[in-house]
Subunit: 338 residues, 2 copies
């Protein structure tokens, strides 16, 4: 397994983006978000995604110089137009504004429409948590999954992120509404493995752990069956309603080419400052106690460990910082050649 | 199957509550919430729950006269102490306040601590939607489910509700973080049936659809496996942090007797007014289009129908209003005798 050090990866992505015309500052910021995704183990939306991001720029779907512009402000709610700028920079800006609003009012709500794929959703949960804030954010997507009871892809996998700050390690959940991503199906198939639990339906409508059968039927499973399907439907509607932007349906209709992902999506970012709302002492104490309680749970497997969302992220980050980030050699060569 | 008309059920529950000392007004309001839960098909938290609610009153766990008192107000955030009042009245009050705040500021956030079981969570989603607001609310609970990777019950099933208003029928999702409730396991076992999908682990740690095996192991499955487990952990922490109340751990420690449910819980209620934020015309159009898109999806089964969350609720309500609400004869007799 080839490993690339974080600084090298970040510098390389910065170089690629500057070559595409990004200013040095924005290239560095955008590259940081990509490299940190890989650093923290979300390889699919880190380095691995860079070639596709560059393709979107080259095709004119991502406008590298565009920044969010304020549409209107209603109290603690600010609504932006993303102007099809880089989705990760747009999203980072929005969570940043939500945090600033939360500093004075306890809460800030920021929405954005006409943005692009935000890459790793967890980035903005960590951003809030690192600023001492509770973070809640989600995005809609073009359709990629059948709603419960359907054969046909009509709902997005609409990632939903919840984050709670904690000095000894924040709690950050980054969940898509499909049980597995298509990326996970592919990796599992290439390894000749089965999914750990049912991941979709085969062509005959039976639940299956076989990734190839699901890729064939395109009937990927919403997490929790009808529950994840319902959650995806509601998150989409609320994101579009609050941002004044497109819903999954609108994104499907606006797509500039088949397979384009995240184009003209709608997003919501909420930050809440527990130091202002409940007091910092209370917050730190409460979260530590809750984490301790969870860690006391008897593991299901011998030598198993019960972890909170985000706990392994910190371990991965530490390991990848020390040893370098594992990369797929062909993808690394592809980025070097960009 | 015995059926009782809505008005009769409501009057009967009102009588029971007044006999316990409720004022006529509060008895009527509380009875309405119970009877509407049954009317709309959530029998477990409607009539069926009344005997247990009365037991909690008799034991002093629910203080029938207590009303929420304002703890503090930070901008659009109001925080209340529930004073161990009836959980459904407390919750209805909170969503009502959130809606009032949203009318002027676009959004209102209300939290409550030291409350009691809110019964049917969907009630407060419908309350928001019926007022033309987006509703987001959740509650924590005492522990009733093992976190992912554990044998031992340490997390709540923390129902999460999302609602979007629509003139032709609102979209309301009311989901607990367990794939099935213990009530559903019991009903399925008594019918000698299997669950439609895996609902937990058996005593040997294998996923199973056999309700009896899950009741024995107490290893009920979080919805979406690790995803629902993570969501339950975060929802609990955020509810306790924002309300300044107890987390699942605190509720376990505060429980006055084994099996008591919802005692001293923490809840969050958010209302957003899309008419103020995006304009009513935009909102109605967008939601109708999204619903239409969903309905176009090809069903997986012949003669199947793809529905949005809350769609069947309206049908059930209509049918039960006309024909009467199906009741278990022994439970009805029990309520008549209270």
């Amino acid at each position: 397994m080839k490993r690339i050090f974080f600084d090298t990866m970040k510098a390389e992505i910065t170089r690629v983006l500057m070559k595409r015309g990004f200013t040095e500052e924005r290239a560095g910021q955008c590259a940081l978000l990509f490299a940190e995704a890989s650093l923290e183990g979300v390889y699919s939306h880190g380095l691995n995604r860079v070639p596709r991001f560059v393709e979107y720029i080259d095709k004119g779907w991502v406008n590298i110089h565009a920044e969010p512009t304020l549409v209107d402000k209603i109290g603690i709610i600010e609504r932006y137009d993303g102007n099809l700028g880089p989705g990760n920079l747009n999203a980072q800006f929005c969570m940043g504004r939500a945090i600033e609003l939360a500093r004075t009012d306890g809460v800030g709500i920021v929405t954005i429409r006409n943005t692009n794929h935000w890459m790793r959703g967890g980035s903005y949960g960590w951003q809030a948590a690192n600023a001492g804030c509770i973070g809640i954010c989600w995005t809609n997507t073009e359709s990629c999954m059948p709603p419960w009871g359907a054969k046909e892809t009509k709902i997005g996998n609409n990632p939903f992120i919840l984050a709670v700050p904690r000095k000894a390690g924040s709690i950050v959940l980054d969940m898509a509404m499909s049980q597995f991503s298509y990326g996970k199906l592919e990796v599992t198939r290439l390894n000749n493995e089965m999914l750990p639990v049912d991941g979709g339906f085969d062509i005959d409508g039976n639940l299956t752990r076989d990734p190839a059968a699901i890729e064939k039927s395109m009937r990927i499973l919403p997490t929790g069956y009808w529950k994840g399907s319902g959650l995806a439907i509601l998150l989409d509607m609320i994101a579009a309603l609050l941002s004044g932007g497109l819903s999954t349906r609108g994104m499907d209709e606006a797509k500039p080419a088949p397979g384009v992902s995240g184009y003209r999506g709608s997003q919501v970012f909420i930050a809440l400052d527990p130091a202002i709302i409940s007091g910092e002492g209370f917050a730190e104490h409460l979260v530590n106690e809750a984490v301790e309680y969870l860690h006391q749970a008897e593991p299901a497997e011998e030598n198993g460990k019960v972890t909170y969302p985000g706990e392994r992220t910190v371990e991965t980050r530490k390991q990848n910082l020390e040893r370098g980030i594992p990369v797929d050699e062909s993808i690394w060569q592809k980025v070097l050649a960009l």
